[in-house]
């Protein structure tokens, strides 16, 4: 039975600011949920703390609103304990690239099969507009008393350096592109990042919807020239790295990703930058050690019999320490 959008929405009042890019992300996530071939009962969304974090309350799946910056370990813990879950982590840029930067990086090293969507609005929304780690040095959004004193990080490059096997970017108000990107991220086997450019009309008056839309620059027919362009569509770039490719090819692609990741301002690449199919998932690596992992994963094991007695053979287990 196909799901409708209404099935994946709750009826709670949504309290994001009018015009917030979060609405676009919510819609795309929910649309994607209705289109992916996954039992909705197995879907769990985790979110961080920030405006973005409320998304789980508006979405009718299992929804775990975690702690500021700790989204990824929460989500990874659930996925490892029950690899049959479809785990989607949705975080903020302050949450994930700021206080959570360490977890962001180490998640890449694991490459657990899950999806990580980041609401990248260049500000700390919920605490009233401080600069987030993606805001550029010297920029001064209206909520800052003085220009931003820190340089911006490059999330795409960070993800690459950390080992993410799927790295993409989309734009909150390009719902089709975003939805498709999310679906591809979910379909990818391994850890998939979707960095979503998200206007925050309340605090970020630099990277606005108009700015992304290119309202400030017009072509000869006075049409706005949008800043985001789809790398795959526009340049024919193929982000896939297959097991068959030569090291040199891989290197070349990787450098291209870096090059693309540095574009910003007048031309902002969106789409999938990198999809590496050569790297094993953490689940596979566990299965190398624990042959029964995929069938009898932690959440699925029977701990006790009907008599409440443990199922573990203690006598056998203790042999090693028995002396007689």
């Amino acid at each position: 039975m196909a799901l409708k959008l209404a099935d994946v929405k709750t009826d709670l009042h949504n309290d994001w600011c009018p015009g917030c890019g979060d609405f676009g992300i919510e819609a795309s996530v929910q649309m994607a949920l209705t289109e992916i071939p996954v039992d909705i009962n197995r879907v769990v969304i985790f979110s961080g703390i920030g405006c973005h974090g409320k998304i789980v309350h508006w979405t009718n799946t299992f929804g775990i609103h975690t702690l500021h910056g700790r989204l990824m370990p929460f989500a990874q813990g659930a996925k490892l304990a029950n690899p049959d879950l479809e785990v989607i982590a949705i975080g903020g840029d302050g949450d994930g690239y700021g206080i959570g930067a360490g977890h962001f990086m180490h998640a890449g090293r694991r490459n657990i099969d899950m999806t990580y969507i980041v609401h990248d609005n260049q500000v700390y929304g919920l605490t009233k507009g401080q600069a987030s780690p993606t805001q550029g040095l010297g920029e001064k959004t209206k909520s800052l008393p003085e220009p931003n004193i820190n340089s911006a990080v490059n999330p795409i490059m960070l993800a690459l350096a950390s080992g993410y096997t799927f790295i993409s970017r989309s734009y909150a108000f390009d719902s089709r592109h975003l939805k498709e990107t999310i679906k591809r991220a979910i379909a990818h086997r391994g850890l998939a990042l979707v960095d979503v450019l998200q206007p925050c009309p309340t605090y970020n008056d630099i990277n606005t919807k108009d700015w992304y839309g290119g309202e400030d620059r017009r072509d000869e027919k006075n049409r706005p020239i949008p800043r985001c362009y789809d790398i795959e569509k526009t340049t024919g770039f193929d982000p896939t790295i297959t097991p068959e490719m030569s090291i040199e090819e891989v290197e070349k692609k990787t450098l291209k990703v870096i090059e693309l990741s540095k574009e910003w301002g007048d031309k902002i690449p969106i789409g999938v930058f990198y999809q590496n199919e050569r790297v094993s998932t953490y689940e596979d690596r566990i299965a190398d050690r624990i042959s029964t992992y995929k069938q009898a994963y932690p959440a699925k094991q029977t701990l006790a019999g009907k008599d409440a007695r443990p199922t573990v053979d203690l006598e056998y287990l203790s042999k090693e320490l028995l002396i007689s």
């Binding site: 709750t10 709670l12 409320k54 929804g63 775990i64 975690t66 700790r70 094991q301 029977t302 002396i323």
Partner: protein, 657 residues
């Protein structure tokens, strides 16, 4: 007064050496040899926060009855380096013995650069003060004056003889046998057949044929060498006893690991830290395990052990796992626990059963990472901002480490809250012989867990993860269970789990959560909350109150005190939250004299008791020098306190090197 009447099968042996030189395997071989001879052992380990080169030492007590503590005196000190001799000669009782390497007698104490300046000063001062030379010779002279029997062992010679016998020309490949030589020499002095040493060596080195061979050859050479020289009979002896029942030789951290496996822990997260990571590594090396017949349809059992990027990830990952219905835990010690408190608060708010095994070591901060202390009790009770229920359970010996590691999961799941299992370093890193652990006593109770989604609530009213109930506990579904969709949030929330700032809901939700603690206090039987060891007479002369690893020393100290006519009773607190207020009040209000014994500076349990019962425990015996408390210290200090309570309100114990 000597505390010991007979020294046959009742003695204390010490060995030391540089970290990384294999001294731990000496102690292991010695202990196993004793256990193989039917004896019981209790071994403690002291080491620096260092990988190689700094001094470490083991004390092993041996007896024909089960023993549970360390004592102050050493009967036989076995050394093969100068440093061990220098540091510990003083600890040997008059009439005891020292095994040493005669080639080191000229060693200058000042030149041993791993000795701290103040120790060098203290020892040379002591020697010079008595007219001895400030070197090893002087130390040996001093020992002789104290009637200590000296046993020179020419290790180097034995090593080269061994090398020759096995046809090895590179001496360095053989030199490691020095550890077993030392043990063998000890057995020769103590009179236990070298055969036990050989069996222990075989058990420990397993398949390494060549290693076993050289050790056995060396062991026999040393053994016979010592036997061949006529000594006056040594004042302490070991003799095999008939003991057909199998026993376990186990360290505290292993007991906890076993408990976790039996108790159903299927995911463990950790970030390396002393002394907690031993447990995780033990679990990792037992990640696949056998199930009882009848449960092996899934094949084997298994536990996923994840080394995380930090302790924040460790706790939050364990919580994530727990949300799926997995019994999950993390193990750490002070510094790591400090990083876990925010995550723990989230589990408190969302009623997630997550187990934290907290190994306590010397604090504050990095503190004394490899030393013992009980400094984290109040922190464990109050860690994290705001108020939520938590279970805090403390183990006092190896058996408790095991059974508590099971119980703590039952508590966590029944009361749906974070549960902290406290274990001191003195338990974690000590080894002892115990009767085999039994799975009979280890029942599993998962509380109001809904694992079966076949009867979904979807059609009717939506599932309420945080449904208001009489006892505060709501039926708990897990992620992925059809028909039981739910939400969690660290924010205050509605029964469904959505953010809710309404003041009325707030009062109800806070009350619901906190009510669980009252439910737990009501349901958990007294027998799991504390142990009470009565006096032999109807009315005790003194009531000892304590917790954690002090238990063994107190129980054995009490026996000695009884011989002196001091009849003590002992209240060992185990469940710190919820606290058994009424029972403790009742017990203590009848006491003539109460003594609080703790291994921390301020007497944290005494504070807790004062808070809960309004009973002030004036007399305290405290130890916070990083070394575990001994039976003899208990004996001495309780005795002094009983004799003159007013003059001895705060006794600080200082034993240990």
């Amino acid at each position: 007064m000597s505390l010991i009447s007979s020294r046959t099968n009742n003695l204390s042996w010490m060995i030391g050496g540089a970290q990384g030189s294999g001294v731990d395997s000496s102690a292991n071989v010695f202990s196993r040899a004793c256990v193989l001879a039917g004896l019981w052992v209790y071994g403690t380990r002291e080491y620096y926060s260092n990988i190689k080169g700094l001094h470490s030492y083991f004390e092993v007590r041996v007896s024909d009855k089960q023993i549970r503590s360390k004592i102050d005196e050493v009967d036989l000190l076995t050394t093969f380096d100068a440093e061990t001799l220098i540091r510990h000669a003083e600890a040997v009782r008059p009439g005891g013995g020292i095994i040493y390497n005669p080639s080191l007698v000229r060693s200058d104490i000042r030149k041993v650069d791993t000795l701290e300046d103040n120790i060098v000063e203290k020892i040379t001062g002591r020697l010079v003060g008595q007219g001895f030379t400030p070197n090893v010779t002087g130390l040996l002279d001093e020992a002789k004056r104290r009637d200590i029997q000296l046993f020179p062992v020419a290790y180097d010679q034995v090593i080269s003889q061994t090398a020759q016998k096995i046809g090895e020309t590179q001496l360095s490949k053989v030199s490691r046998i020095i550890n077993v030589l030392a043990v063998s020499a000890s057995m020769a002095v103590l009179g236990l057949d070298v055969n036990y040493v050989e069996r222990a060596v075989e058990a420990i080195f397993g398949a390494k044929k060549k290693v076993i061979e050289m050790n056995v050859i060396g062991a026999e050479l040393v053994y016979n060498a010592i036997k061949s020289i006529a000594h006056p009979p040594f004042s302490a002896k070991l003799a095999p006893v008939e003991n057909t029942k199998p026993r376990m030789f186990v360290a505290g951290n292993q007991a906890v690991a076993f408990g976790k496996l039996v108790g159903g822990c299927r995911m463990q997260t950790y970030y390396p830290i002393t002394p907690a990571s031993d447990e995780s590594e033990f679990l990792e090396s037992h990640e696949n395990f056998k199930l009882l017949d009848g449960y092996s349809h899934d094949g084997q059992g298994s536990i996923v052990v994840v080394q995380t990027e930090d302790e924040i990830a460790a706790i939050t990952m364990a919580i994530g796992a727990s949300l799926t219905g997995t019994r999950a835990s993390t193990s750490t010690s002070g510094p790591g626990f400090s990083l876990m408190v925010e995550g723990m608060g989230w589990a408190g708010m969302n009623e997630v059963p997550v187990v934290i095994t907290l190994y306590s070591r010397g604090g504050p901060s990095t503190g004394l990472p490899t030393r013992n202390e009980q400094g984290d009790l109040q922190f464990a009770l109050h860690a994290s901002h705001g108020e939520f229920p938590r279970i805090v359970l403390s183990s006092g010996d190896m058996e408790e480490c095991f059974y508590d590691a099971i119980k703590i999961f039952n508590y966590a799941e029944k009361y749906q809250c974070p549960a902290i299992h406290m274990v001191d370093k003195a338990l974690a890193n000590s080894n002892m012989t115990i009767l085999p652990l039994s799975a009979e006593r280890a029942l599993i109770d998962r509380g109001k867990l809904i694992l079966d989604g076949s009867n979904p609530q979807d059609g009717g009213t939506p599932y309420k993860r945080f449904k208001f109930t009489e006892d505060g506990i709501s039926p708990r579904a897990v992620l992925g269970l059809k028909g039981y969709r739910f939400w969690n949030t660290g924010d205050e929330h509605s029964e469904i789990g959505h953010i809710d700032e309404d003041p009325e809901n707030r009062i109800k939700m806070m009350t619901k959560r906190m009510t669980k603690l009252e439910t737990a206090a009501r349901e958990i039987p007294d027998s799991e909350k504390f142990n009470f060891f009565p006096a032999s007479k109807s009315s005790a002369d003194v009531t000892i109150v304590s917790w954690g690893s002090s238990k063994g020393a107190i129980l054995e100290g009490m026996e000695l005190l009884r011989r002196d006519g001091i009849d003590a009773e002992f209240l060992q607190l185990r469940l710190m939250s919820p606290f058994p207020t009424d029972s403790v009040k009742k017990t203590l209000s009848k006491s003539k004299l109460i003594i609080d014994i703790e291994q921390n500076y301020s007497g944290q349990l005494a504070s807790l008791i004062a808070e809960k019962t309004q009973i002030e425990i004036v007399n305290k015996i405290l130890k916070f020098n990083g070394r575990p408390i001994s039976r003899d210290e208990i004996y001495d200090s309780v005795r002094s306190t009983v004799k003159a309570p007013q003059e001895n309100e705060r006794l600080v114990l200082v034993h240990g090197a």
